[in-house]
């Protein structure tokens, strides 16, 4: 560490450029990770806030809430933690028809689990059928408490009585209403619900209904897996390529230092000491670059627009930094081979 630290302090420009490169690569990785997690959260925020463990859907719906309908006469007996959920895509507008917004109508029963789990940032839950609670994000679109809104294509108006946190499903804001509103929209009380979301872990299969774990349900959200896999592949490739680049840089740096190393070898300093100096230098470069990029990412996240889904998961980001440090250390193995070949005799040449 003594050799590594002093060399870095003396060759500030040299190593400053390498740290800058590592920082920028790690920054790019963390920004991609932030976007991936942000988008993933927008897909699952509501399901997470409902503390879902199991989802019962119509077997023919291909694990897709949009396609699932459970007839009222097929509804199973509910237990504590189970909630009937009626879901329907819709477009809302202000009373005058302005500010159209795509949304997901989620019809609930007030006495069931979900209505107790969702946290309101403002207002209260609905008491009447003509009252709704909107997702927080709709506040930014000009919606506010006591506002009258309409569902596109309908004459009836609904009054906004509250705003709920973490209320997006498939990146779309939720409009919470009574289950009867959803039933009315669907065409009558013969429609029991779209699905049953439960905070319990259990298996259920009966006639046309089947239970799925939350993980399975989330993986089948439209576009969710493809999006996450794309981001994960980008991050993975970026990490491998960047580590290869850092390995090349370390190789070139080590090549430049071989005459010095030969002199040290002639003086009796062991190969092990020189290898430790090179490896500790790689660890230092990666760690400093990683920490700087985390700070840069955190600062950037403060300046991003609300509409951009971005989430920093600190344990994951720190874990990824450690992986980068480990990969960077592994990439220093190539120059280590060079050091092992240094002959003390070279000091005289």
């Amino acid at each position: 560490m003594f050799l590594a630290l002093n060399e870095m302090k003396h060759e500030k420009v040299h190593y400053g450029l390498i740290v800058t490169m590592v920082t920028l690569i790690a920054y790019l990785i963390f920004m991609l990770l932030g976007l991936m997690l942000g988008l993933a959260k927008e897909n699952t925020a509501a399901v997470d806030s409902w503390q879902t463990q199991t989802v019962i859907l119509n077997k023919g719906a291909n694990i897709n809430l949009n396609q699932s309908v459970i007839p009222a006469n097929e509804l199973p007996k509910l237990k504590a933690g189970d909630s009937l959920v009626g879901q329907s895509p819709l477009v809302i507008t202000k009373k005058n028809g302005a500010d159209k917004q795509s949304a997901q109508l989620i019809g609930l029963k007030a006495n069931q689990s979900i209505a107790k789990k969702v946290t309101l940032s403002e207002g209260r839950w609905w008491k009447k059928a003509n009252e709704v609670v909107l997702a927080d994000s709709l506040k930014n679109k000009g919606y506010h408490l006591n506002q009258k809104i309409k569902f596109s294509g309908q004459a009836k108006t609904y009054r906004v009585v509250g705003f709920a946190k973490q209320s997006t499903l498939n990146v779309t804001p939720i409009v919470y209403s009574q289950l009867s509103v959803w039933q009315q929209l669907k065409g009558g009380r013969q429609f029991g619900a779209s699905a049953i979301f439960s905070t319990r872990q259990f298996k259920y299969e009966h006639d046309n209904l089947k239970s799925y774990t939350k993980a399975k349900y989330v993986q089948k959200l439209p576009g969710y897996s493809a999006q996450n896999q794309t981001f994960a592949a980008m991050i993975g490739f970026l990490m491998v390529i960047s580590m290869a680049i850092i390995g090349v840089f370390l190789y070139i740096l080590t090549m430049q230092k071989l005459p010095n190393y030969a002199v040290l070898r002639a003086q009796g300093i062991s190969t092990g000491t020189l290898v430790r100096a090179t490896v500790s230098q790689a660890i230092l470069l990666m760690a400093v670059g990683g920490v700087l990029s985390l700070i840069l990412t955190a600062l950037t996240s403060l300046t991003l627009p609300e509409a951009m889904p971005f989430l920093i998961n600190w344990p994951l980001a720190i874990g990824l930094t450690l992986v980068m440090v480990i990969l960077g250390t592994l990439s220093s193995v190539i120059p280590v081979k060079l050091i092992q070949r240094v002959q003390p005799l070279d000091a005289l040449n």
Binding site: F2, L3, A266, G268, A347
Partner: protein, 224 residues
């Protein structure tokens, strides 16, 4: 008893028709308190002689004994240890790390050799003797050639080895500086009781030597 002993040392480079013999059955001894000058032209085998003596390479034939221990039979690790503890090298390139200050060059020795180095008081005295005590916070590129050379000598002495091996220490120095360096090596031998071996082609160092050995075509002839 000699500190350095070379017995019937031969060194061959290459194979077949391209085979060259750099040293031919060389015998040599050096003792504590002596300045030995190995003098000869380029290509005479000086560097091969020095590197074999210092354990930087092995001879093709013969034995090298340092303090009575045969070095040709040592492992690489043991040879590293021997160079660290028994031999101080003063190389033509001054053997200083460009990114360490003069003070840190000594700290590096402390880190790799924990015991037996000079004390801080002894180091201070040595630096004053060499006229470089005011340069401890400077980097090698902030020093003149002569200053670098004196730092390299101090660094070689800091580990307190019984043997000092120097390779062309007066290359590119003017006559006045050669006298200073010659006297310095003489003092190392006599005052500090080291066995000093200097290989050079510089005849200006001859007045300072206790023993002078000429090397030509890989063969040694003692002339003083």
């Amino acid at each position: 008893m000699p500190v350095i002993e070379l017995k019937q040392i031969s060194k061959f480079y290459g194979e077949g028709v391209g085979r060259v013999q750099a040293l031919k059955k060389v015998d040599f001894q050096a003792s504590t308190g002596e300045l030995n000058l190995i003098i000869g032209p380029s290509g005479s085998g000086k560097s091969t002689f020095l590197t074999i003596t210092g354990g930087l390479q092995s001879p093709s034939e013969g034995q090298v004994l340092i303090n009575g221990k045969e070095t040709t039979k040592l492992s690489n690790k043991e040879r590293d240890r021997m160079r660290l503890e028994e031999i101080g090298f003063v190389l033509q390139s001054y053997n200083l790390l460009p990114y360490l200050t003069v003070q840190q060059q000594f700290e590096l020795v402390d880190r790799v050799k924990k015991q037996g180095n000079l004390s801080q008081a002894e180091l201070q005295h040595l630096l004053e003797e060499l006229g470089i005590s005011q340069l401890v916070h400077k980097f090698p590129d902030q020093l003149s050639g002569g200053q670098n050379q004196r730092v390299a000598i101090a660094r070689a002495l800091y580990a307190n080895p019984p043997i000092i091996l120097a390779d062309e220490p007066t290359a590119a120095l003017d006559s006045e500086r050669v006298k200073t360096v010659g006297q310095l090596f003489k003092d190392l031998a006599t005052k500090r009781q080291k066995a000093v071996v200097v290989v050079t082609h510089d005849q200006r160092l001859m007045p300072f030597a206790d023993r002078i050995t000429k090397i030509e075509d890989g063969q040694l002839t003692q002339v003083k």
